[in-house]
Symmetry: C2
Subunit: 285 residues, 2 copies
């Protein structure tokens, strides 16, 4: 049970978590903190949080759990602003999509990772963003990956695990490095490919007439290109090493496909398409 949860960044993820925890009774009160009083007031009005506070140090004062749900680039500055005020026994966790960069930012701000710090990442979201898009069922049946550090206290880990389980999520643990590689492959690379494709087509000199002939498959394929550009810039900068690694693999595979198309090599194309269909059919609905 959490007595007082302080959430930095009350958007789709932070707001949905607040809604889920209040609904489940796992959390007595939620205070929100961000730079925009307008957004925070809206979050209170929509019943997402109980109260808000514009001053970061003040916001964390009585919190037993502090959640960082801000863009990756803001993790460090927020930690610096709460460093002196956060309770010594408080649990600190985050929802960042690239863990090494968050661990680095938190450790730098606190002069070493605090024992209460549990890096986390819910594998959930939509292409929409903002507190208006928040809903309490967002995490139901979804995976949340925790990447505890050597310095992480066992009780802090248990609190964060129980918090996510209360939202209906399945919680797993893995190393920071493994998380960053898996997400680069399954999330960051696909987003880059989709953003790149839509931009590429938009610039093909057809005055975007071309999109009129896009079928359902194209809409599905490019849905993630409607995601928040600032958030994705931050992710690309924060997880560049793992992204470049999977991009290299992918480009080699794309080379092979391109060569097969060029040489009319139907057998190679068929083998690739069959392997892909079979892998996807096994793992996705």
């Amino acid at each position: 049970m959490i007595r007082r949860l302080c959430i930095f960044g009350v958007g789709l993820i932070g707001g949905s978590l607040a809604l889920a925890l209040r609904r489940s009774g796992f959390c007595q009160s939620v205070v929100g903190c961000s730079r925009s009083e307008q957004h925070l007031a809206l979050a209170v009005e929509k019943g997402v949080i109980d109260t808000y506070c514009l001053d970061a140090a003040e916001a964390v004062q009585d919190a037993d759990v502090v959640l960082l749900s801000v863009p990756l680039g803001a993790m460090g500055p927020v930690c610096t602003s709460i460093r002196e005020a956060i309770r010594e026994d408080a649990v600190l966790t985050d929802v960042g999509s690239a863990k090494a960069s968050v661990v680095h930012a938190v450790s730098a701000a606190f002069g070493g990772a605090p024992a209460g710090f549990v890096p986390g990442h819910p594998i959930a979201g939509t292409e929409r963003s903002g507190v208006e898009a928040a809903f309490p069922e967002l995490f139901e049946g979804r995976r949340v990956i925790l990447t505890p550090l050597e310095s992480t206290a066992a009780e802090a880990l248990e609190t964060v695990r129980a918090m996510w389980q209360a939202t209906g999520a399945e919680v797993e643990e893995m190393s920071v490095a493994h998380h960053d590689e898996v997400l680069a492959a399954t999330s960051h690379l696909p987003h880059l490919l989709a953003f790149g494709l839509v931009d590429s087509l938009a610039r093909m000199g057809e005055r975007e007439e071309i999109f009129r002939y896009a079928a359902g498959g194209f809409r599905d394929f490019t849905r993630i290109a409607s995601s928040d550009p600032v958030m994705w810039r931050d992710i690309c900068l924060a997880n560049s090493e793992a992204i470049l690694k999977v991009m290299k693999h992918y480009r080699e595979d794309l080379d092979a496909i391109t060569e097969a198309v060029k040489h009319g090599d139907g057998d190679t194309l068929l083998a690739i398409f069959r392997r892909a269909k079979s892998a996807r059919d096994r793992f996705c609905d």
Copy 2:
């Protein structure tokens, strides 16, 4: 009004068209023809077609409209088998995803494109295939592109236009070359990228454990990789020139993104992501 429609290949597209035309009363009777008696019998049983015929020449004998809804590689052989039997005043049309190759195959089989031949392509479909997946609403509100040739008779064009309009589709005309470029960009390239990504990840040596962490965005992004491998091999072979052209553009754009990630160039990434999001939000739901 069509008295007797003969459909070669009663799968998702051919079957859905038959259902839509019978429901609208635009067509009195539909005869199906394919290599599989089992599939044809199922199509009769499901009320998709009235009757079937395993002999191609016999199937077209009384048909006033003949629809080719077979894989691109089978267009030529089917035309050769009906060449002598098809009525001289019959309308011949198809649903192939690459028009130049169909025009070539039909012209080769008939010794020049017949006046009744109207190349066509409904921009509709799902990742599913087969007559089991057919439904009469598939074309409602979707675009159908007709690419009439110089040799195409005006009445034949009107019949095919009216046929598609009876399904609820919006019919447009463009040149064969323009069609093939637009579809390479909006459909063929995205399919190659999705097939390539799923195969690439499946081979990353994680025993496909990696797919467990794929979120909703990945499922949407890769849905088209569950499409029929044989059909897509045929499309790649049939429209290779246009596909290689758009692939070249796309790879240059992907190079620029990769360089920006490598050099931590957030401004370039943000500009690309913003252009893409804005283009997609304008054109897709």
